[in-house]
């Protein structure tokens, strides 16, 4: 049943470019998809470990800059009169480096903040995002500062024996984003359903009890932060090569807020939540554009978020799932529990 819903949803999403010819809408779907990947990565932390990364856009932005600079090349002066010259590499390598370096940043942020629990992580992540934004703004030689990095190349996929396929069209980029989003979704699903995922949940529910059975808090949270940051970095790289221009505004706090809204409205701690919330809040601007000025739209977002949480307090996906199971268990008797087939009376 669940698998059927997933397959149907994927098939529906995959069919979109076949019937949707409006480039404006397709563009909105691509950028929305990129932000959905970001929201999924945020959900891994917020929904499955309870840690709020309020500077999450930093990992996204780092991914964007790393990928852009890898594929554009740079020539910068270092202290002591040295110069560091990097000639352009294929964008696909930029994509890989974006994942690695964003993940590394996630590691350091985690290392810094997870020794102490509570608001500490929130503060460290906010500060981290601000510091990175200032670096991007002021290290003009590397990043062009407010002038932005422009002419970022499209991603080109190497096809063995056939050369390369450069993804120029909206349709191609749509499928690229869809595939990366699917991989991220499956990765997170596997992770949270694994033994590691149970440790994360245990920590979130009752940390004292979790450590008493041997779960290492710092290690678990740090691994989650690394994976979350790496996925956000992948999204940032897609963003850079699709929009093809990035400036330090990518690090703006409002972008993190957008991701948080996507996660909360769709339902944190649910795999599909960020996808649903992301689609709603990614496409809302499209719907509101004819009737509202961009500044006024933020008020509408707030209104929509409050309305959703008023009707579905745990977010769309978990609240609807809860109602569905309640209705079903009301009509049919619960299946008897079957555990294991072993005849052992006591653990060996």
């Amino acid at each position: 049943m669940r698998a059927a819903v997933t397959i149907l949803a994927v098939a529906a999403l995959a069919s979109v470019p076949l019937w949707l010819r409006d480039p404006y809408l397709l563009n909105a779907l691509i950028t929305t998809g990129i932000f959905v990947i970001g929201a999924m990565s945020l959900n891994l932390l917020l929904g499955f470990t309870g840690q709020l990364s309020l500077g999450h856009i930093a990992f996204f932005g780092i991914g964007a800059y790393v990928s852009a600079l890898t594929s554009l090349g740079f020539d910068i002066g270092l202290p002591g009169g040295f110069r560091l010259v990097h000639t352009p590499w294929p964008p696909i390598l930029g994509f890989v480096l974006a994942i690695l370096i964003a993940g590394l940043c996630g590691y350091f942020v985690g290392l810094l903040s997870f020794r102490v629990r509570g608001a500490y992580f929130v503060i460290v992540t906010i500060s981290f995002a601000e510091v990175v934004r200032l670096v991007a703004l002021n290290w003009v030689e590397l990043t062009q500062g407010p002038l932005a990095l422009t002419n970022i190349p499209f991603i080109a996929l190497p096809l063995p024996g056939l050369g390369e396929l450069t993804l120029r069209t909206k349709m191609q980029n749509y499928y690229l984003v869809l595939v990366v989003a699917l991989i991220a979704y499956l990765l997170i699903a596997r992770l949270v359903h694994s033994h590691f995922g149970r440790s994360m949940r245990g920590l979130m529910e009752n940390e004292t009890l979790a450590v008493s059975v041997g779960i290492d808090v710092t290690r678990t949270l740090t691994i989650a932060a690394v994976i979350s940051a790496a996925i956000a970095g992948a999204a940032g790289s897609l963003y850079a090569h699709y929009i093809r221009i990035i400036d330090p505004e990518v690090f703006a706090f409002i972008n993190t807020v957008t991701m948080v809204i996507m996660v909360i409205s769709g339902g944190k701690g649910s795999l599909a939540g960020p996808v649903v919330g992301g689609l709603i809040f990614g496409l809302l601007p499209v719907a509101l554009r004819p009737v509202m000025a961009p500044e006024a739209q933020w008020i509408a977002y707030g209104g929509v978020l409050i309305a959703i949480l008023f009707v579905l307090p745990r977010g769309i996906v978990p609240s609807l799932a809860q109602r569905l199971t309640r209705r079903r268990s009301g009509t049919t008797a619960l299946a008897p529990v079957t555990l294991t087939e072993t005849g052992a009376k006591e653990p060996a």
């Binding site: 992770l191 009890l209 691994i223 555990l339 072993t342």
Partner: protein, 260 residues
């Protein structure tokens, strides 16, 4: 307990909270495979002693060693890795998870697989997962919670939640188990079954240190009893000896005999 080898040594441990002396100069040993009870009136320092032994609290003085490993500076999860596992006085479960999933979380120590193997769902990871599920089922049966397997742990009765707490500790594969008032909140028949469970645990070679106010239970189950009052050990010996110790009777009467 002459022939036994020593599992845990508590050596001149003291704990102060600001001006309050919760434990002063506490020394005793627990032998391998023994059931030792730590008793004393409310506020005597029993839970504090557990917190020191499991790394949740750093003592102001003294040292604790488990199987010749000094515990100073070890984090709780590292101490758990030595096989020293505790339960909590206040009910402590993962409330939103089913009882079955609670045990799977508790099985953490046995389920370590490489993360990449788990993500790629390699055969090794799948085999480990199967083993964990089987083991969780066995533990449920052992503590008698099979019928509650798929209920949220937080929805269980108080007594059942205490059992989940013990099952969780057992899932962590202890070589020594510290139980903090495990039968409080249990009715008479639940308590009776629990005594059987404790004996069963000991028969598997697991050393037990028990904190409990239920005196009949302590007297039947313990090999040895250590009595604490105002953070100080006032008596130590077999249930027979303790039952007739004037200092113990005095301590309990002084605090209101109703509790004892």
């Amino acid at each position: 307990m002459t022939a036994r080898s020593i599992a845990m040594t508590i050596d001149q441990v003291a704990v102060r909270f600001g001006g309050l002396v919760a434990i002063s100069d506490m020394s005793f040993e627990v032998g391998e495979g023994e059931i030792v009870s730590l008793i004393g009136p409310n506020g005597a320092g029993k839970t504090t002693a557990f917190n020191v032994m499991t790394g949740f609290l750093t003592p102001s003085a003294g040292r604790v060693a488990y199987r010749n490993t000094a515990l100073a500076g070890l984090k709780p999860h590292e101490i758990a890795d030595l096989g020293l596992i505790r339960t909590f006085q206040r009910t402590s479960v993962f409330p939103n998870d089913t009882v079955y999933d609670n045990l799977l979380i508790g099985l953490h120590r046995q389920g370590r697989v490489r993360l990449l193997d788990a993500i790629l769902s390699l055969p090794g990871a799948r085999a480990s997962e199967r083993k964990l599920r089987q083991r969780a089922g066995e533990l449920l049966e052992w503590v008698g919670l099979e019928r509650r397997a798929h209920d949220a742990a937080g929805s269980l009765s108080y007594g059942e939640q205490r059992l989940v707490g013990v099952a969780l500790a057992l899932a962590a594969e202890p070589s020594m188990l510290l139980l903090d008032e495990p039968v409080s909140g249990m009715n008479a028949s639940e308590t009776h079954r629990f005594v059987e469970l404790i004996r069963g645990i000991r028969d598997r070679g697991i050393t037990i240190l028990l904190v409990e106010h239920d005196m009949p239970m302590v007297m039947t189950v313990s090999d040895r009893i250590v009595v604490l009052n105002y953070g100080r050990i006032i008596a130590e010996g077999t249930p027979e000896v303790i039952r007739n110790d004037p200092a113990v009777i005095e301590a309990y009467l002084g605090h209101g005999a109703g509790r004892a």
